[in-house]
């Protein structure tokens, strides 16, 4: 049994799944637009949450947040369910598929056999769409792969019930109502506002632009505080979170820039084009940080690839991002007054 589901490649799993699920029901919005309306952009350095025994740094909002905000802002209704029992979770998935409903699942990427081994590590926030079943195999639209995949029942169940931090607990979701006419202008403005407020105004030192500055201080201290080996493990985790898992800091900044570019057209607001270009440059900065980080992890660092150099780049990112969010808030305020 196979649902006629259009598989489209994405840069990031949750925004890709969101965009693809909506497309299935006739709402054609890009991945970047889904990410922007869903207010996916974020920064948090969360040392008390450990992934592979190393502190978590996140460049995107909480798991499921993009889809939740996107559907709410567009007036789309979604059913979401968690399970304790893998058998019950798989049975619920089967029932939905039999009813012709494509189902989003949250999974642990490590247990998905089609992930290449070089890119596989424990990451419990990976989203995909199951759109059919043939024998014991499920048909998977995993948006970070160019082609659709197959996954044996046992592997999918294991992946849906992966253990560890942010365990998916069998989470599955599907859309139950999609409005016929959707005006994107209001949701775009609300999405921008949510990101700006979070990046500028959340109290405490570890979230938003303050969090980026805090991380800069930590990166500078790590070699002295933790020793070379452990510092390089911390950096490795950071670079992986930034550049690979779901595309990370630089990738999310590039995606947000693409969203602002699209939003400029929809809202007829040229200032957003300028801010889009600035956000792209910030993405480039994040990437130069990652390059130095990667060199340090792999013992390829030269004299100029120091912790101080990385910290300086992070402080520059914080300063530039702060300016962008402040300008965005001004733009959104005037745009919203216009209609």
């Amino acid at each position: 049994m196979q649902i006629d589901f259009k598989h489209r490649l994405s840069a990031h799993c949750e925004s890709g799944v969101s965009s693809n699920l909506l497309f299935h029901y006739g709402v054609d919005i890009s991945e970047a637009m889904a990410f922007g309306i869903g207010a996916g952009l974020f920064f948090g350095y969360l040392p008390f949450i450990r992934i592979n025994h190393l502190p978590l740094t996140t460049f995107r909002c909480e798991v499921g947040g993009i889809l939740k905000r996107l559907t709410r802002k567009l007036g789309v209704k979604m059913h979401i369910e968690k399970f304790r029992n893998p058998e019950k979770a798989m049975a619920a998935l089967d029932r939905s598929l039999e009813s012709g409903i494509p189902v989003g699942c949250r999974t642990g990427a490590y247990w998905l056999p089609y992930f290449p081994s070089a890119f596989r590590f424990h990451f419990n926030m990976h989203n995909l769409v199951v759109y059919g079943k043939e024998g014991d195999d499920y048909l998977i639209s995993d948006p970070v792969f160019p082609e659709t995949q197959r996954c044996a029942r046992e592997d999918l169940a294991k992946s849906r019930f992966a253990q560890g931090a942010l365990a998916p607990k069998g989470t599955m979701y599907y859309l139950t109502h999609v409005p016929e006419d959707i005006d994107l202008r209001g949701p775009i403005c609300k999405g921008i506002k949510a990101v700006c407020r979070r990046m500028l105004n959340v109290p405490g030192p570890i979230i938003g632009v303050r969090g980026i500055r805090f991380l800069a201080g930590q990166v500078e201290k790590w070699p002295r505080k933790l020793g070379k080996r452990k510092a390089s493990l911390y950096l490795g985790q950071l670079v992986r979170m930034q550049e690979e898992l779901g595309t990370g800091g630089a990738g999310f900044r590039f995606m947000y820039a693409a969203f602002l570019q699209e939003a400029a057209g929809i809202l007829n607001e040229k200032r957003l084009l300028d801010l889009s270009a600035k956000m792209t440059l910030v993405g480039d900065l994040w990437r130069s940080f990652a390059v130095i980080g990667a060199r340090n992890c792999k013992s390829r660092a030269t004299e100029s690839d120091s912790s101080a150099a990385m910290a300086d780049i992070l402080r520059d990112c914080a300063r530039k991002e702060s300016e962008i969010y402040q300008e965005l808030l001004t733009v959104v305020k005037t745009v919203r007054n216009g209609y």
Binding site: P146, R240, E243, A250, M255, G283, A290, A294, K298, R300
Partner: protein, 90 residues
């Protein structure tokens, strides 16, 4: 001419990978154009992908910002050279 240009990119890429990723023990001749860059042969992982993206921009002026494009491009020397060629030619 186009073929020669593509060949130059592949050769240059092999030298860059060996020099910047410390692929000790490899010569350009030992890197086949369709070898998986992130397979067992070279021992490269996602962190090395960051350096490759940087080197591609540095040496060829081609930016890989969208990983939707980047992931397929980073499969092998062939795919990376094709990506660079497509982005560099008008």
């Amino acid at each position: 001419m186009l073929k020669r240009y593509a060949m130059d990119i592949k050769e240059k890429l092999k030298h860059i990978l060996i020099e910047t990723l410390n692929l000790e023990g490899f010569t350009p001749e030992q890197i086949q154009n369709d070898d998986l860059l992130f397979g067992d042969k070279f021992g490269l992982d996602s962190i090395d992908a960051v350096e490759i993206v940087f080197q591609v921009e540095h040496h060829f002026g081609v930016k890989i910002r969208d990983m939707k494009e980047g992931r397929p491009a980073l499969q092998s020397i062939n795919t990376l050279a094709a990506f660079i060629e497509a982005r560099r030619l008008p």
